[in-house]
């Protein structure tokens, strides 16, 4: 069964450092997303990506965040200068459009 894969599973970084979270979405999907979940809280939408550009972003997704799909398969989330409050589980998801969204297993980001 096709699946969304994310790497790394856990990333520890120092405050102020840049991190890149990587995802391989399901190959025939058209819509790609990043979500995050701070411990014990809800799953929050960050950004959606369609047709090689951002189609929507939340107010959380400020100038410190960026996304790329550099080679047609990988989908990355970059945080330029991490803050303590960026510590969370980050989930990548993909979707054909209407229908279920498939989620990866997540990357736990810990900013120290």
């Amino acid at each position: 069964e096709p699946e969304v894969t994310q790497t790394p599973s856990h990333q520890v970084t120092q405050m102020g450092q840049e991190v890149i979270l990587r995802c391989v979405p399901i190959s025939n999907h058209l819509y790609f997303y990043w979500y995050r979940q701070i411990l014990g809280q809800k799953v929050e939408f960050l950004v959606s990506f369609y047709n090689n550009e951002i189609s929507e972003k939340s107010e959380i997704f400020d100038d410190q965040f960026s996304v790329e799909r550099p080679d047609g398969s990988n989908f990355t989330l970059k945080i330029r200068s991490t803050k303590l409050e960026d510590s969370a589980m980050y989930f990548c998801a993909s979707r054909t459009g209407y229908g279920e969204a498939f989620f990866g297993q997540g990357t736990r980001l810990t900013v120290v």
Binding site: Y35, S48, E56, Y98, E100, R108
Partner: protein
């Protein structure tokens, strides 16, 4: 702005009985609703969905009911099993440029043996 609400943070039921998880929404543009199951440190796993043109969808032990006039949906699990113990998230999406999902805050279900 909580467009999707799950007002019960937790639910405990006996094995074999029915579990009913509830979800309310405020955005009338939502036209597709989904339920996800989540374990700690794992990604959400899709369970069942329903389109706004239907009022019921069934898949094995799982049934989702949609009441559009009340902007309410519910997930029924019958019979409940200990392996169903997890956090359940309701999510909704609208036909727009991104098809993003908006999640509720989740309900932790504990099924007691």
């Amino acid at each position: 702005d909580q467009q999707v609400k799950q007002n019960s943070p937790s639910l405990s039921v006996q094995e074999g009985r029915i579990s009913i998880l509830n979800c309310d929404y405020t955005n009338s543009m939502f036209d597709y609703f989904l339920w996800y199951k989540k374990y700690p440190a794992e990604g959400p796993t899709f369970l069942i969905s329903i389109s706004s043109i239907k009022d019921k969808n069934e898949d094995g032990r799982f049934t989702v009911f949609l009441n559009k006039s009340a902007k309410h949906l519910s997930l029924h699990i019958v019979p409940s099993q200990p392996g169903d113990s997890a956090v359940y998230f309701c999510a909704a999406s609208a036909v727009d440029s991104s098809y993003k999902l908006i999640f509720g805050s989740g309900t932790r279900l504990l099924v007691r043996p």
